[in-house]
């Protein structure tokens, strides 16, 4: 599934108080690509991700997914597209407190009116894959942060989405949980050819991507492509971070 972003821009606030979150960004994501979006806080990473995932509308510009201009779709059609083709992992997990772990995970399938049998089958597969079988009947409030993010990932992936959006997915996780999640994301990217777009300011997390774009002050500053060696790619990312802002506002993980 190919994504083409053409000249999108987004402002928050009105007139003199307006903040230019994104200024004329354009990029292309090929099918099966694992794209990282990096940049300091406030650079516009989450806004860009939200616009591509149709959770927000740009002030101008186009987002073409497989040739369909998502910005022209009605809210209802956008929601349908999100439900059928996309999965989401957020830093704040966005789990529903009133539902237990199982209900949270199966929610996208239930929304799609999938059969009971298929729901159960996919659920079992997912909890086994992510090793969270023991959590299925627990309440969301009783989980650790790492467990919550794994559950959020399971919810994002249960529908076998064609595009996975991850906004700071490892932001609340310890290094072990982060590694498990990232390995799994890489696995589905390799095997299922799922296109992944991930916003992060963590160099270690970004090193799992095949391609990273750097955003600063709402515009694309530079891009790096993974040469095939993760350690080398990690070094390149760190260097780019230093170039952008002296590395003061980028996390340099010790897990390298």
């Amino acid at each position: 599934m190919q994504i083409i972003v053409k000249n999108i821009a987004k402002d928050y606030g009105k007139r003199f108080n307006a903040v230019h979150a994104i200024k004329d960004i354009g990029l292309e994501v090929k099918q099966g690509e694992f794209l990282g979006i990096m940049g300091p806080s406030g650079a516009g990473k989450s806004t860009l991700l939200n616009i591509i995932s149709t959770n927000e509308r740009p002030d101008h510009g186009q987002v073409l997914i497989d040739g369909i201009d998502m910005t022209q779709l009605h809210d209802k059609e956008q929601a349908k597209y999100r439900r059928n083709k996309m999965g989401f992992i957020y830093q704040s997990f966005e789990l529903l407190d009133s539902l237990n772990v199982k209900e949270n995970i199966i929610l996208p399938m239930a929304l799609n009116h999938a059969s009971k049998k298929l729901i159960e089958q996919n659920f079992k597969h997912m909890i086994k894959l992510l090793n969270i079988e023991s959590l299925s009947k627990r309440n969301v409030d009783d989980l650790s942060l790492g467990q919550k993010q794994i559950v959020a990932a399971a919810r994002a992936l249960i529908n076998n989405p064609e595009i996975l959006f991850a906004d700071e997915p490892t932001g609340s996780l310890d290094s072990k949980s982060a590694t498990i999640l990232l390995n799994y994301m890489q696995l589905i990217n390799d095997k299922e050819k799922t296109t992944i777009l991930m916003a992060t300011h963590d160099a270690f997390t970004a090193s799992y991507c095949s391609h990273v774009v750097f955003i600063k002050d709402g515009v694309i500053f530079s891009e790096i492509v993974n040469p095939g060696d993760r350690n080398k790619f990690f070094e390149q990312i760190i260097n780019m971070q230093r170039t952008i802002g002296g590395g003061s506002y980028f996390n340099v993980s010790e897990n390298n």
Partner: protein, 662 residues
């Protein structure tokens, strides 16, 4: 800083505050208007019954009204504090002193209460004339209403406004303090082990209540007073506990069961909505129960008010079937007056009657009996006798005061037995209450007898009744009317009881002479117009008060439900936003909001209507009144108004959700 925080809180909850302020202002406005009417000199001067009773009734109702309004303000005012729990706790976490947060809560309440009072009093000033005119119109009074707001009323309103504002603000300050003390958000747990048995018990109570209502209907007709009392107590308990337990136990358990039926729960948004509704239901159990019971009470009271209204009008119709009625003692004066005034008589009736002593077998009471022949009875206007059972030439018709005679009217099929002095005992199942010349013209029983029986009857006293209908009224002047009034209850009969009925004596008496024995005085004349004025005034006042209370109650109940729906806490908002983020479209979220509004409004009204059916059973003791149709109409009217509030709530609720999603 304070003002900024307070302003922000008003802005974020503007819909909710607006509803609360409007509801309070309406209540304050109505209270102010009622209070200003009490000491209105024009009403006192021009309506005779105003000073003698209605002014005090108005004062009483205004006190009840403001008391209910204060209960509403005290209860609902707390919603806003609860809604800001997260914010207040955050202020404290950031180092704001507790008393500062308390003062913020205090000032918020002061501002809201003062705005409500100012708007309320302004509403009263603007609409006093309208409501005054409406009251006079309903009372059938034909003079204009003058706007008047005395300084006394103003002072009283000012004092009540200031004191109540202080009290509610202090109450909310305590609420803020308690909120800050509770560090943990207490989540109401499901506790199914408690809810399932409670739910079953609730259903049993409620169903048994419905069954007992049917039994009650039978017993009340059979006049089994002891049984009826116990059944009434049981019904109240069964409905009160039953409804609460259904909200507490049955509905959450039902939603839990549905949630576990995968075929239903795993379909579309159900996986979320069942749990969401359950959480909201558990949180609002007491409010839903309170609203159900109040709605039920309102429906019962409205039906009773209608019954009262009907009874007054029925009594009026029974008492005044002619526009003017006289007997042999007053006819001469009345005819002279009518001639002097040039009154246009359209129909004139005259009937001779005989009076003797009779004894009711049902209670052995010895009373006067007025006899009219069948032939004379048949000559009377059909409208005067149509409400009595039809009789043939050889039948007896017994006319008695229906409500006060045990065993007479409550069982229509029962035969009435009346012993007559020196004549055959009368046995008849033809019993009525529509006295052809009006109920005030007689004492004791009236019996329509076959001509032969009537002719053979040895009368102790004879009298003649006269009745007239006019074109454009009787035209009696105030002076003539006062002269007639002085003759009322000056003539009658006296009964001197003996060992047996045949020796008991009945004789005509004059009010001025000293009489012995049991005395029964007649009104001697009856004038429809003067009675109609009083009946119109009393019923008009009744309709005015009932309408005000009903509208106020609907606004209060509706706004409580609306506010409970609007005031979602942070976690509930977050959940709706998350659903939208992961692909639930707005129309599906709108569906959740719609279903929630429908359940919140429909369930209480359904239970309320079912409970209010008890009133039909209560009306069983008035078999002559068909209350089913009015009861259905009252219910439909209430449901329709309630439905409008529900629909508006849905629109506001969806508007606020939609704004948050955007």
């Amino acid at each position: 800083m304070f003002l900024k925080i307070i302003r922000r809180s008003f802005r974020t909850m503007k819909d909710s505050y607006l509803i609360y302020i409007l509801a309070c202002s309406f209540a304050i406005g109505i209270f102010s208007i009622l209070l200003s009417l009490v000491d209105n000199p024009k009403l006192k001067g021009d309506i005779s019954i105003w000073s003698s009773g209605i002014a005090n009734a108005t004062l009483g109702f205004s006190v009840i009204f403001i008391f209910c309004a204060f209960v509403y303000m005290g209860f609902v005012g707390g919603f806003f504090i609860k809604q800001q729990a997260h914010e207040f706790k955050t202020f404290e976490k950031f180092g704001m002193a507790r008393w500062t947060v308390i003062i913020i809560g205090f000032i918020q309440t002061v501002v809201v209460q003062l705005i409500s009072w100012v708007i309320g009093v302004l509403v009263a000033l603007i609409f006093q004339k309208f409501f005054g005119m409406l009251l006079l119109y309903l009372m059938g009074v034909k003079f204009g209403f003058a706007f008047l707001f005395t300084s006394n009323t103003f002072n009283l309103l000012l004092q009540i406004g200031i004191y109540s504002t202080l009290v509610f603000s202090i109450m909310n300050s305590f609420r803020v303090n308690r909120l800050l003390k509770n560090k943990k958000n207490r989540q109401k747990s499901l506790r199914l082990y408690l809810r399932i048995p409670s739910g079953i018990l609730g259903i049993l109570f409620f169903v048994s209540g419905l069954l007992v209502t049917v039994i009650f209907l039978g017993d009340i007709k059979g006049s089994q007073a002891d049984k009826v009392l116990w059944e009434l107590v049981f019904l109240m308990m069964a409905y009160l506990f039953g409804t609460y337990l259904i909200y507490f136990g049955f509905l959450p358990s039902l939603l839990t069961i549905l949630q576990h039926i995968k075929r239903i729960a795993y379909t579309g948004i159900n996986v979320f909505s069942f749990k969401y509704f359950k959480e909201r239901l558990i949180r609002n159990t007491s409010i839903l129960w309170f609203i159900t019971e109040l709605s039920s009470l309102a429906l019962v009271l409205l039906s009773i008010c209608y019954l009262g209204y009907q009874t007054i009008y029925n009594n009026y119709d029974y008492a005044h079937p002619f526009e003017l009625t006289a007997n042999q003692y007053t006819v001469k004066d009345i005819k002279k007056d009518l001639k002097e005034n040039g009154s246009k008589i359209t129909r004139e009736y005259k009937t001779k009657v005989k009076m003797t002593v009779v004894q009711r077998s049902s209670n052995d009471q010895i009373i006067p009996g007025t006899f009219m022949s069948y032939s004379d009875y048949k000559k009377l206007p059909k409208s005067n006798i149509s409400r009595n059972p039809k009789i043939g030439k050889k039948d007896f018709l017994i006319l008695d005061y229906g409500y006060s005679v045990p065993g007479y009217v409550s069982n229509q099929s029962k035969e009435a037995v009346v012993k007559v002095k020196n004549a055959d005992t009368i046995k008849s199942n033809k019993i009525g209450s529509a006295f052809p010349y009006g109920s005030t013209m007689y004492q004791g029983l009236m019996i329509i007898a076959p001509d032969s029986y009537y002719n053979d009857l040895d009368a102790s006293v004879e009298n003649t009744f006269y009745g007239w209908f006019f074109k454009n009224g009787d035209k009696l002047t105030k002076k003539q009317y006062e002269k007639l009034d002085s003759q009322e209850y000056t003539k009658g009969v006296s009964i001197k009881k003996a060992d047996n009925l045949d020796e008991t004596k009945l004789s005509a008496i004059d009010g001025s002479s000293n009489n012995t024995g049991t005395i029964f005085m007649d009104s001697s004349y009856s004038r429809q117009k003067s009675a109609k004025i009083q009946v119109d005034q009393i019923t008009g006042f009744g309709i005015f008060i009932v309408a005000l209370f009903s509208v106020a109650l609907l606004i209060a109940l509706g706004s409580v439900l609306t506010l409970r729906l609007l005031l979602r806490d942070d976690s509930e908002w977050k959940q709706l936003k998350t659903l939208n983020k992961i692909g639930v479209n707005k129309s599906e979220i709108k569906e959740i909001v719609k279903k929630e509004t429908v359940y919140t409004f429909v369930i209480p009204i359904v239970f309320a209507v079912m409970q209010s059916y008890i009133v039909i059973a209560l009306f069983g003791s008035f078999p002559q009144m068909d209350m089913l149709v009015p009861f259905i109409l009252i219910n439909l009217g209430y449901v329709a108004l309630y439905g409008i509030i529900g629909f508006v709530t849905y629109l506001i609720s969806w508007r606020s959700v939609n704004q948050k999603l955007n």
